[in-house]
């Protein structure tokens, strides 16, 4: 068996540390986040210490465990071998013990239709009506719908899912959670913008750099004007 590239291991460790820090500073205590690395592939998720058994992150509401957060990232080097690219990410909020999901936030990089989507587990009489009268829509289960969210670059990040759990599901948050979510989201946005710029240049190396430079120069000038006026 060939071992994983040491640089990949270092990246995997940085990424796993960041996810653990996010969880620890928002909704969890000592989340068992680990990275499993095999050759060029990395799986980041909560695991028991030996890496064999998957675990969920328990979330509390008014001190009682009411939800579990299941999460995982499947990663590999990006095309330039400079960044750990996310091949897929899966976040789900589910009931403890029973395991029934409430909502899932999935990203599947290889999918052409809705690579980033939300699946809500619920019943809908409206969907049932459509199904009965058209026979063309999917079965009347809301979870069968892949609701597109933000595409590859602007998809929800883990910070968004945690924020959703805190704000809409009353999950207990640790002191300073909001600031940590804001920091993570800001870093995520920056990373995604950088990645989007690389995408644009990769697809149009002749004219895209000039257009992007002009856009950046304009944005710098606009911000300078706003700052001077303020």
């Amino acid at each position: 068996m060939s071992k994983a590239d040491p640089e990949l291991i270092a990246e995997a460790e940085r990424f796993a540390d960041d996810i653990a820090d996010l969880l620890e500073r928002t909704v969890s205590e000592q989340p068992p986040i680990r990275a499993l690395a095999v050759e060029g592939r990395v799986l980041v998720a909560p695991f028991a210490a030996d890496g064999d058994q998957r675990e969920d992150i328990p979330l509390t509401v008014q001190g009682e465990r009411r939800l579990d957060l299941r999460l995982e990232f499947r990663c590999a080097w990006d095309f330039a071998r400079k960044f750990l690219a996310i091949e897929s990410s899966r976040f789900a909020l589910k009931l403890p013990h029973l395991g029934e999901p409430l909502i899932r936030f999935d990203y599947l990089r290889s999918h052409t239709w809705a690579p980033a989507h939300v699946q809500m587990h619920a019943e809908s009489s409206t969907l049932g009506y459509l199904h009965a009268f058209t026979g063309t829509v999917k079965p009347p289960k809301v979870q069968a719908l892949h609701i597109p969210v933000g595409g590859r670059r602007l998809r929800p990040c883990l910070e968004d899912v945690i924020d959703f759990a805190i704000h809409d599901l009353a999950v207990d948050a640790r002191a300073g959670a909001s600031a940590r979510i804001g920091e993570g989201r800001s870093r995520w946005k920056r990373l995604q913008v950088n990645a989007a710029i690389r995408d644009v240049i990769k697809h149009d190396p002749d004219t895209a750099p000039h257009e992007l430079r002009a856009t950046i120069e304009q944005a710098v000038a606009d911000v300078a004007d706003t700052t001077a006026a303020g």
């Binding site: 990275a35 095999v38 890496g51 499947r74 029934e100 999901p101």
Partner: protein, 64 residues
């Protein structure tokens, strides 16, 4: 290697996949068909997800 990063071998991962399939009481093909049809129970669904994660590490996955 740190405690945060683990490097399981292929044999270890194949064993893990076999154990997960055993817990599902279904063949991989049946699990895949049931997943596509949306008829898996919650427990089977998460087992199926675990199996696909192992297959990702093994390089046997289809969609990443």
């Amino acid at each position: 290697m740190t405690t945060r990063v683990l490097e399981p071998g292929h044999d270890e991962l194949k064993d893990r996949r076999a154990r997960l399939l055993e817990r599902a009481h279904m063949s991989r093909e049946d699990l895949e068909a049931a997943a596509a049809a949306g008829t898996l129970s919650a427990e089977e669904f998460w087992l199926w997800e675990d199996i696909r994660s192992v297959e990702f590490l093994l390089g046997d996955d289809v969609e990443g």
